[in-house]
């Protein structure tokens, strides 16, 4: 393994105890990072330190522990906001994950702003979490949804995108990086075109924020949603970045404690931003865990993280393309893809493939990857996906190749 061009992968691997685990007597080769990533010691320690040293309900008590917890929570928000280039503290809202972030946009912004016959534009490469909330919103309001398709090499059909933008959509929601095709969309360009047409822009950053430098100022999006657990952080914590102007025109999402300023029998007034959108006792362990994850990634450098993934994906694409009977989906060049490689091999169904790879210790994902419209548009029942991260090595790609060879032997391909 040693040093790839950019990252010291050996020392990175040493920070992830789980990577030493054996699976079915074989070395674990964890290639399911687009589903969730493993956690470095520093993240686990941040969580245990919180519980061992300063656990309390933030924003409520006046006692020392509560003040510590409040400070840690707010400091986490500041650090995470800085990581994505947020302009202000209140633009960073804690959620349970990207799914809740997108639902927050649906209820907070969508419900008061989307009207009958409005147009909502999505893309065919979206994860279900960036489709279903808009379908429900459209059904509620009598709005209409159009999907932008893809070209043969798995890139967004820009001609169709521009055509739809000419129809002045109210809302445009798209992924930064496809969790199946790996396609990296030119968010800056898409946001700029959408903005000119007067649309509000929602970016699903679940597969990009963990893997490449992301700057919301540069992208110029209105909303950006992502999850902590896909970027070395804990599960159950995520972020919604919301541009300040948008925040001001949003209604509360969930309601109850902490999101109010005053409550009387006659009604209630709302807390300041961003607390207006954070009802109930917050996930402090998640916030400090995610902060530790962000600090870990910053210590590696996001440029280098991206470079490492490009190297691994390039190597995997080169090796895999040579396998007879294989179909790889998405752009051909590693420079145009995120850290995922989805494929089918002969008539081996993805689930059979994943079972066989698992026997060899290789953990991959199989199925429709929560992107059924995309899988249907590709005309396949399912796909197998290998997805990479900072701790993966070329040797692990070789282990994947050996496991693929075994699958071919079993299925006589």
């Amino acid at each position: 393994m040693l040093k790839t061009q950019s990252l010291d992968v050996e020392s990175i691997r040493a920070a992830f105890p789980i990577l030493k685990r054996k699976v079915h007597g074989k070395k674990l080769v964890y290639l399911d990072n687009a589903a969730t990533t493993q956690k470095p010691r520093s993240v686990v320690k941040a969580i245990s330190d919180y519980y061992n040293k300063y656990n309390a309900n933030p924003h409520r008590g006046v006692h020392e522990l509560s003040i510590d917890a409040t400070e840690a929570f707010d400091e986490s928000r500041r650090r995470i906001g800085k990581f994505i280039g947020a302009g202000a503290f209140e633009e960073v809202i804690f959620t349970r994950g990207a799914t809740e972030s997108l639902n927050l946009v649906r209820f907070g912004w969508g419900v008061p702003h989307i009207e009958a016959d409005d147009l909502i534009v999505l893309t065919i490469m979206e994860h279900h979490s960036n489709i279903v909330p808009w379908q429900l919103l459209a059904a509620e309001k009598g709005a209409r949804i159009e999907f932008v398709g893809i070209t043969e090499d798995g890139k967004l059909d820009m001609e169709q995108f521009e055509e739809l933008m000419a129809e002045s959509p109210a809302l445009v929601a798209f992924t930064h990086s496809s969790n199946v095709l790996g396609t990296i969309n030119d968010v800056k360009k898409l946001c700029s075109i959408a903005k000119k047409s007067g649309a509000t822009t929602v970016v699903d950053g679940a597969q990009s924020v963990p893997h490449m430098p992301v700057d919301v100022q540069q992208m110029d999006c209105d909303f950006l949603a992502f999850s902590g657990h896909k970027m070395l952080g804990p599960m159950g914590i995520g972020i919604l970045y919301a541009r300040k102007e948008k925040l001001r025109e949003m209604q509360p999402f969930q309601s109850g404690g902490d999101m109010i300023k005053e409550v009387h029998t006659s009604g209630a007034t709302w807390n300041d931003l961003p607390y207006k959108f954070e009802a109930g006792t917050q996930n402090v362990e998640g916030a400090v865990g995610l902060r530790a994850a962000v600090e870990y990634l910053e210590s590696l450098g996001m440029e280098k993280v991206r470079q490492h993934e490009e190297d691994i994906v390039g190597y995997a694409m080169e090796k895999m393309s040579a396998v007879p009977g294989i179909t790889i989906y998405g752009p051909k060049e590693a420079s145009e893809r995120g850290g995922v490689v989805s494929f089918n091999l002969g008539d081996i169904h993805a689930h059979d493939m994943a079972s066989i790879l698992d026997e060899e210790g290789v953990a991959v994902r199989s199925g429709h990857h929560c992107a059924q419209p995309l899988i249907e548009s590709l005309g396949i029942p399912a796909a197998t996906r290998a997805s990479f991260y900072v701790y993966n090595t070329r040797e692990e790609v070789d282990a994947l190749m050996d496991a693929l060879a075994k699958a071919r032997r079993i299925f006589c391909i």
Binding site: H349, D352, S355, I356, E359, I375, A382, I410
Partner: protein, 136 residues
């Protein structure tokens, strides 16, 4: 149970050359279901004889080798049997039919999908409710 064990020639043969594959017209029973995790789909159609036996049966679907081979083998097993027979059908019978003792929690649903569809269809036809646990 290792995957190399389950993917024996027999299973692959049924996957690639499924018996009783297709639609059945006319039919008396038509039931289908899918497995949301895998996207496996199985539809079963049955022609019932006057003495309530499975006179003819076909299946239609798509999915992994285990789900499709299991469906095909089950149609062979069910042909000619009284409808009542399907009520007694259990997870153990399906595992035995596939020639394995266990499949693990991730894949057992693939194997049992066709049994669930068969039972749903037969119970519906007989006008009775399917018991909560289909793999009793």
């Amino acid at each position: 149970m290792s995957s190399s064990d389950i993917y024996r020639e027999l299973i692959l043969d049924y996957y690639r050359n499924p018996r009783n594959f297709g639609k059945l017209d006319p039919h008396d029973i038509d039931a289908k279901d899918s497995n949301p995790l895998c996207g496996d789909e199985v539809e079963i159609q049955i022609k019932v004889s006057p003495d309530n036996k499975i006179e003819d049966i076909r299946f239609f679907g798509k999915g992994c080798a285990i789900s499709q081979a299991s469906a095909s083998m089950l149609t062979e097993l069910a042909k000619g049997k009284p409808l009542e027979w399907t009520k007694e059908l259990s997870k153990q019978d399906i595992l035995k039919m596939l020639g394995t003792s266990d499949l693990g929690p991730a894949r057992i649903k693939c194997a049992l999908l066709s049994m669930k569809v068969l039972k749903t269809g037969v119970y519906g036809y007989l006008g009775t409710t399917l018991p909560e646990s289909a793999d009793h």
